[in-house]
Symmetry: D2
Subunit: 112 residues, 4 copies
Amino acid sequence: MQGLAQQLDRFARDRDWKQFHSPKNLAAALVVEAGELLEHFQWLTEEQSRRLAPEQLEAVGAEIADVLLYLLQLCDKLGIDALDAARKKLELNAKKYPVERARGTSKKYSEL
Amino acid sequence: MQGLAQQLDRFARDRDWKQFHSPKNLAAALVVEAGELLEHFQWLTEEQSRRLAPEQLEAVGAEIADVLLYLLQLCDKLGIDALDAARKKLELNAKKYPVERARGTSKKYSEL
Amino acid sequence: MQGLAQQLDRFARDRDWKQFHSPKNLAAALVVEAGELLEHFQWLTEEQSRRLAPEQLEAVGAEIADVLLYLLQLCDKLGIDALDAARKKLELNAKKYPVERARGTSKKYSEL
Amino acid sequence: MQGLAQQLDRFARDRDWKQFHSPKNLAAALVVEAGELLEHFQWLTEEQSRRLAPEQLEAVGAEIADVLLYLLQLCDKLGIDALDAARKKLELNAKKYPVERARGTSKKYSEL
């Protein structure tokens, strides 16, 4: 993941794109890509979404890649360690959603 | 990243949440979190977004974590290797945006 | 709709918020609200989404309102007549999706 | 707006698309379109976003139209009066953001 972040940094510097890559803009680009990812699923049933054809799967993979690439650039810009943040968040979620109360429900923690 | 994916899998299984985690739903959840991430930046200038206060940075880190956690779950569900997909996409982008034509412009490859 | 646009204009001017309301920022705010709207549906089945409880319906209505309020402000800022644009788009869609080819399929026009 | 809602209803029925138009799916489609709208602004400065070229303005208008078309279909599906909901939300916002405290700041009501 670090190697990738470095490649991205050089990719953007080579193209003189750093001027566009404020955290604000990167966050906007990330949500745009997340929307493109969702577009592949918007009219599918949940069942269909579990059984994508190979070409759909590849298209979805490319959108996931776009999301991850902006996520890494945003983290690089802000000095955030994405994996570390994710680990901490998972621990927090474990407290917000204790097994006995959260089991089998999709309610938000504030409504459990 | 793999360790995290495994933890996430157990987290969801312990809570009997797998029933909710169709790729379609995970993609929806991902864009919702990406929106929450953008919310922190929506009224900031680009300059302000480069100089977040510590508490803003922490809040942003937690949203980034949420995006990553859904991304990992989606990849796990679909059998996609996120880093591998990102590496391939970066190579593709290098072809779509050759340095000499893309330098200093934010135009889409289709308009270069 | 025009009356509402005028009220919104005064609302923002009274609070000296026009400085934040660039089209870019309003578009970001709109997608953030659209994400909050989707959040209500993300773990529901399609069937459940058709039968919302009264309190869910009210919460969803409030998110729809937020989306519309930013849409109107964006249109006001850009001098776009939203209803006129929507009418034109619907005409265009009728050409992109001719009944005989689009019937019963959710494919994109480029794949019909 | 009602005339448009009726046209949309016929448009979807003619194509047998009602089967895809659960509130959940329409909310997903709306956020996807909102993302496409934001895409036009993501690399622009706020100043640039205030001075769109005619062809950009037209493209933005088409995305705004898409958002509005899904918003109207969602409202139709749920029996929500969008303008009425927007008026109520604006009244609520006036209470959440009293002029004297909200003036000149982009803080959320919970932080005022």
